[in-house]
């Protein structure tokens, strides 16, 4: 783990389930400190967890030689979380629709769908090797908060 850098927390993590838990905890702290309500905190935390799971399982495939890079930032107008792996790359357009009737009984394939459902923006960037996911949750302007 590396330290905070001008409000942006960055982590370099191993390809393990412990790293998934670390990402989950950091996202929960970020969301709570931003004042999000319980449901929004849950959404941000779960999206970050799913992104980290994806990176560890499908990206790096638990390879101890590969790292997960994660960052967490409150820009004032949004929470921005990035999760990057060093795997073979992910083409989001090739993912099957988990809501299609023929896919409903599949045992996997819901992670990216949940991330997209819970965040306001999700961006994919190919790193060659690897994939970086950027998750964005917009924050309501202070004046609009009740």
């Amino acid at each position: 783990m590396s330290g905070a850098k001008s409000g942006r927390l960055s982590f370099s993590l191993t390809s393990t389930m412990e790293s998934v838990s670390e990402v989950e905890s950091a996202a929960e702290k970020l969301a709570a400190e931003a004042g999000l309500d319980e449901d929004e905190c849950f959404h941000v935390t779960m999206a970050a967890r799913e992104a980290a799971l994806n990176a560890v399982l499908h990206g790096n495939e638990y390879d101890p030689a590969k790292r997960i890079a994660a960052s967490f930032e409150n820009t004032g107008s949004a929470l921005v979380i990035t999760i990057a792996d060093q795997g073979n790359g992910l083409d989001p357009d090739m993912l099957p629709d988990p809501l299609a009737p023929e896919n409903l009984l599949r045992g996997c394939g819901r992670g990216i769908f949940l991330i997209r459902s819970f965040m306001d923006e999700v961006h994919f960037r190919q790193l060659h090797p690897g994939t970086e996911l950027t998750l964005v949750k917009h924050l309501a302007p202070a004046a609009e908060k009740t």
Binding site: M17, V20, F42, M46, R49, E50, L53, L57, P98, L99, L104, L105, R106, G107, C108, G109, R110, G111, F113, L114, S117
Partner: protein, 114 residues
């Protein structure tokens, strides 16, 4: 909190009282082993009491689906009882609400297997 599973039998229905998280590494394997163990012993009616399941991830959702299909393939049935709001919302979002028979009351859930 990791998943704990307590098993009891009521009128021919095996009720698994689940408590904690169903996630990869924290419960999905226990749930899979429990379901496969019951189906392997010839149990046909399984009710998963989800009242104390406070968190489930995509892997846990997949495990519920696997439980459903494993049972169905052996002419058995898995139903869900007492979803917490978060789990309920996730099942709705993923349309799995349309797959499972979900009950709020244990007595009527037990009766529904007959």
């Amino acid at each position: 909190m990791a998943l704990t599973i307590a098993s009891r039998e009521v009128d021919g229905v095996v009720v698994l009282d689940l408590s904690g998280r169903i996630t990869l590494g924290e419960g999905s394997v226990q749930l899979r082993d429990a379901i496969r163990g019951l189906i392997g012993k010839g149990k046909k009616n399984v009710l998963l009491n989800m009242g104390e399941v406070n968190y489930i991830d995509s892997s846990g959702l997949g495990e519920l689906v696997s439980a459903y299909t494993t049972a169905k393939n052996q002419q058995a049935e898995v139903k869900l009882l007492k979803l917490t709001r978060k789990v309920h919302d996730l099942l709705q979002l993923t349309k799995l609400y349309t797959v499972f028979d979900i009950k709020d009351d244990e007595a009527s859930a037990i009766a529904s297997f007959k």
